[in-house]
C-alpha cells in the first residue's frame, strides 16, 4: 500500500470552520484549482441566467419582459461574466490542477503567488457584481454596467456613464487581469523549471504545451487590457483625455487597445480547450496523438498569428485599405494551424478503437462544431462580407459557436474526464449522456438558427424588434434552445453533486490513460508524488503498463 492512502485514511474529520479556513488560506495548486473551477461554476449559473433573461425578452416581437436599460445591463454583464469569470477561471483552474501533476511536480513554481492570483480574480468578480448594489453612486443612475463587454468610448466617459457602474466594471477587469498575469507567470515558470527528470520539452503532454503557449498569450494580451483600464481610470477619476474626443483624444484607440487584448483572448480560452481534446481523444481512441510535433508547432503558430489579427473586430469602423487587407489575410492565415489541429485529431481517431464515454462524446461534438465555427469565422474575415454582417446576430452566432461549441464542450469533456482524479469518484455516465444530449440539442437549436436572423439583418444588442421582418420564428427557436441548454446545465450540476456522494470509487486510473496524473492516488495527496517520477517518453504510464513495448523505443 502506498504512503498516500495511509495519510488520507489517517486524516480525522475536523470541524467545518477549521476546514473552511484551510481552503481560504491554502497554497496547494490542487485546492486552488478546485476553487477556480467552483468559482467559475457559480458564475456560469449567474451568466446563464442573464442570457436566459435576454432570450425571454427576445422570444417574440414587442415583448416587455425587461425594460431596455435592464437589457443593456444583461448583455454587458453576461459577456463580461462569461469571458472573465467563467471561462478564464475555468481554464486556469484546470491548468493549475493538472500542469504540476502532468509534469511530475509537487506544486506550482510560486504557490503563494498562485493563491494571490486566485483571490485577485475572486475580488474582480465581487467588484463586478457589487455594481448591482453600489453602481448607483450618488446619481441614482444605472446600477450594473451597461456599456457592452468591450465598453467602447465615449460610452464609458463620465458624461454618458454617470454613477459608478463603469468604475466597477473597469476595477473588476483590472484586478482579475492582475490575477491572470500572476497565474500566467506561475504557469510558465512551473513548466519551464519544475519538470520531472527526463521530461524534456518534446516529451511534455500536449496539455502542458498548450498551457505554456496560453500563458505566454496571457502575458502579451492581458497586460494591454490592464494598461487600457488604467487609462480609463485616469479619464474617469483624474479628468484625463485619453478617450475624450472633445479634447483631441481618440475613441478608436480604445478599440485597438481592447481588441489587442480581445482577440488573443479567444486563443487564451481556446488553447486550453484544445488541450483537453488533445488529451482525451487519444485515450478514448486507444492511440497515441497523431503528429505530436506538428500539434506543438501549430499551437505556437496560433500564438504568433493570434497576436496580429485583432482589428478584424474593427472592419466596420472604417480603416484604411492597407489595414483592412492586412487583417483579412492574417485572419485567414490563422485558419491554417487550426485546420492542421482538426486533421490531427481526426487522424488520431482514424482506425482507433473508439470508446464513446461522456468525455469522448463532448470531444466528438467539439470537433465538428469547432469546424463550423471556424468556417463562419473565415466568412467574417472577408472585410466586405463583414461590412454587411458585422454587429449582426450572425456575429453573435459565430462567436458563441466558437466559445460554447468549441470551448465549453471540451471543458465539459474535461470535467467528466478528470472528475474521478479530483474527487476519487466516477461521474455518473447515464446522467452525463443525458447532459450531453440536452446540451447538444439546445446548443444547436440556439446557435445554428441564430445565424439566420443575423443574415436577415437583425442587429445585435437590440432589446426588441418589429414583427413581420422574418425574424420572429428564428428568435422563438433560438429562445427555445436555451431551455434545453439550461436543463442540460442543471443535470450537469446535479451530476457533479450526486456523484461526489454516491459515485463509484474511481481508483487511480479509471480510463487506462497514459499521463502522470493517473499514476497518483485519486484524489492525489497534498505532495502529489511520494517519489518524483522519471520519464522516458510522452506516455510514461504506457511504458509502465507495456514494458515489452515501451514508447521510448520509437520517439
Amino acid at each position: 500500500m502506498s504512503t498516500n492512502t495511509i495519510v488520507l485514511s489517517e486524516a480525522p474529520a475536523r470541524p467545518l470552520p477549521l476546514r473552511l479556513h484551510e481552503w481560504v488560506t491554502t497554497v496547494d495548486h490542487k485546492r486552488l484549482g478546485i476553487l477556480y473551477v467552483l468559482y467559475a461554476l457559480v458564475f456560469l449559473l449567474i451568466g446563464g441566467v442573464e442570457a436566459a433573461i435576454m432570450r425571454v425578452q427576445l422570444i417574440r416581437p414587442h415583448n416587455d419582459f425587461v425594460p431596455p436599460e435592464v437589457f443593456n445591463r444583461m448583455f454587458t454583464m453576461h459577456g463580461t461574466t462569461m469571458i472573465f469569470f467563467v471561462v478564464m477561471p475555468m481554464v486556469f483552474g484546470f491548468g493549475n490542477y493538472l500542469v504540476p501533476l502532468m509534469i511530475g511536480a509537487r506544486d506550482m513554481a510560486f504557490p503563494r503567488l498562485n493563491a494571490f492570483s486566485f483571490w485577485m480574480t475572486a475580488l474582480g468578480g465581487l467588484f463586478l457584481y457589487f455594481s448591482f448594489l453600489g453602481g448607483d453612486g450618488l446619481y441614482g443612475a444605472g446600477s450594473a454596467p451597461d456599456v457592452g463587454w468591450f465598453a467602447y468610448a465615449p460610452l464609458t466617459s463620465k458624461t454618458f456613464s454617470v454613477g459608478h457602474s463603469t468604475d466597477f466594471w473597469t476595477l473588476s477587469l483590472l484586478s482579475s487581469g492582475i490575477g491572470s498575469i500572476g497565474t500566467a507567470i506561475n504557469l510558465i515558470a512551473t513548466i519551464v523549471s519544475m519538470r520531472c527528470p527526463g521530461m524534456t520539452l518534446g516529451k511534455m503532454p500536449l496539455l502542458v504545451w498548450l498551457n505554456l503557449v496560453m500563458a505566454n498569450l496571457v502575458i502579451l494580451a492581458v497586460s494591454p487590457l490592464t494598461a487600457a483600464q488604467l487609462m480609463l481610470l485616469v479619464d474617469r477619476y483624474l479628468g484625463g483625455h485619453f478617450f475624450d474626443t472633445q479634447a483631441g483624444g481618440s475613441a478608436v484607440i480604445w478599440m485597438h487597445f481592447f481588441w489587442i487584448f480581445g482577440h488573443p483572448e479567444v486563443y487564451v480560452l481556446a488553447l486550453p480547450a484544445f488541450a483537453f481534446a488533445s488529451e482525451i481523444i487519444p485515450v478514448f481512441s486507444r492511440k497515441a496523438i497523431f503528429g505530436y510535433p506538428v500539434m506543438v508547432l501549430a499551437t505556437i503558430a496560433i500564438g504568433f498569428i493570434g497576436m496580429s489579427v485583432w482589428a478584424h473586430h474593427m472592419f466596420t469602423i472604417g480603416m484604411s485599405a492597407g489595414a483592412n487587407t492586412f487583417f483579412v489575410l492574417s485572419t485567414m492565415a490563422i485558419a491554417v494551424p487550426t485546420g492542421i489541429k482538426i486533421f490531427n485529431w481526426l487522424a488520431t481517431m482514424w482506425g482507433g478503437k473508439i470508446r464513446y464515454a461522456t468525455p469522448m462524446l463532448f470531444c466528438a461534438a467539439f470537433l465538428f462544431q469547432f469546424l463550423i465555427a471556424g468556417l463562419t469565422g473565415v466568412t467574417l474575415a472577408v472585410a466586405p462580407f463583414n461590412w454587411q454582417l458585422g454587429n449582426s446576430y450572425y456575429v453573435v452566432a459565430h462567436f458563441h459557436y466558437v466559445i460554447v461549441g468549441g470551448i465549453v464542450f471540451p471543458i465539459f469533456a474535461a470535467f467528466y474526464y478528470w472528475y474521478p482524479k479530483v474527487t476519487g469518484k466516477m461521474c455518473d455516465e447515464a446522467l452525463g449522456k443525458l447532459h450531453f444530449l440536452l446540451f447538444f440539442i439546445g446548443f444547436h437549436l440556439t446557435f445554428d438558427f441564430m445565424h439566420i436572423p443575423g443574415i436577415l439583418g437583425m442587429p445585435r444588442r437590440i432589446y426588441t424588434y418589429e414583427p413581420g421582418r422574418g425574424w420572429d420564428i428564428w428568435n422563438l427557436i433560438v429562445s427555445v434552445g436555451v431551455a434545453f441548454q439550461a436543463a442540460g446545465i442543471l443535470v450537469f450540476a446535479g451530476n457533479l453533486i450526486s456523484s461526489y456522494f454516491r459515485g463509484k470509487i474511481a481508483g487511480n486510473d479509471p480510463w487506462d490513460a497514459w499521463t502522470l496524473e493517473w499514476s497518483t492516488s485519486s484524489p492525489p495527496a497534498a505532495y502529489n508524488f511520494a517519489v518524483i517520477p522519471t520519464v522516458r517518453s510522452r506516455r510514461p504510464l504506457w511504458d509502465l503498463k507495456h514494458p515489452e513495448d515501451p514508447d521510448w523505443r520509437y520517439e
Partner: protein, 200 residues
Amino acid sequence: MSTSSIALPGNVTDWQLPSRGRVGMWCLIGAESAIFTIFVVAYLFYIGKSTTGPQPRDVLHAPIFYSVCLLSSSVTIHLAVRRIAANEMAAFGRWWLATILLGGTFLFGTAREWIHLINDEGLTISTNLFGTTYYSLVGLHALHVTIGLLALTIVAVFYFSAKLRCEYAERLEILSMYWHFVDAVWVIVFTLVYVIGVSQ
C-alpha cells in the same frame, strides 16, 4: 499502484532546469513591457494632438542629471550583486546603498519637475492630452521606480539587521533584473518624452 513504481529505470543524470525565480522575473518583465508598450503607443499617437496649451516644447526640459543618476544605479546594483556573490558584505552594503541613493535622487528629480509643471506652468493631468499622456507615462515609470526602491530598502533593512547572507545572492540578482528593466524603460521614456515629443 504506488507512486514510486513509476520511477522507471531512467538514464537521466544531471537534470538541470532554469531557475524558477529567473524565469518568473523574465515573465513579469514581459508583462510589464506590454503595459508600457500601450502607454508608449498612446503617447506617440497623441503627440501634437492637444487642442490647447501648454505644448511639450514650451515646458519640458530634459532631466539629464537625474537620468544619469538612474542609469548609473544599474551599474551600482550590478556591482552590489557581484560583491554579495563573493561574500564581501561590506562592499555589497556600500554599492546597495548607493543604488538606493541614486534611485531616490531620480524620484526627487521627477517630483521637482512635476511641482514646477503644476505650479509654474499650470500643466496637470487634466489640462490637455499632453498632460494626460505625460503624467501617465512618466508616472507609471515613477511608480515602478518607487516599487523598486521599496524592495531595495527592504533588502537594506535585512542587511543592517545582519540577516543577509551570500546564499541569497541569486534572489538579489533576480531583484536586480527588475531594476535594470526599470532603467531600460527610462531610456525609452526619455527618448520619447524629451527628444521625440519636444521636436514636434
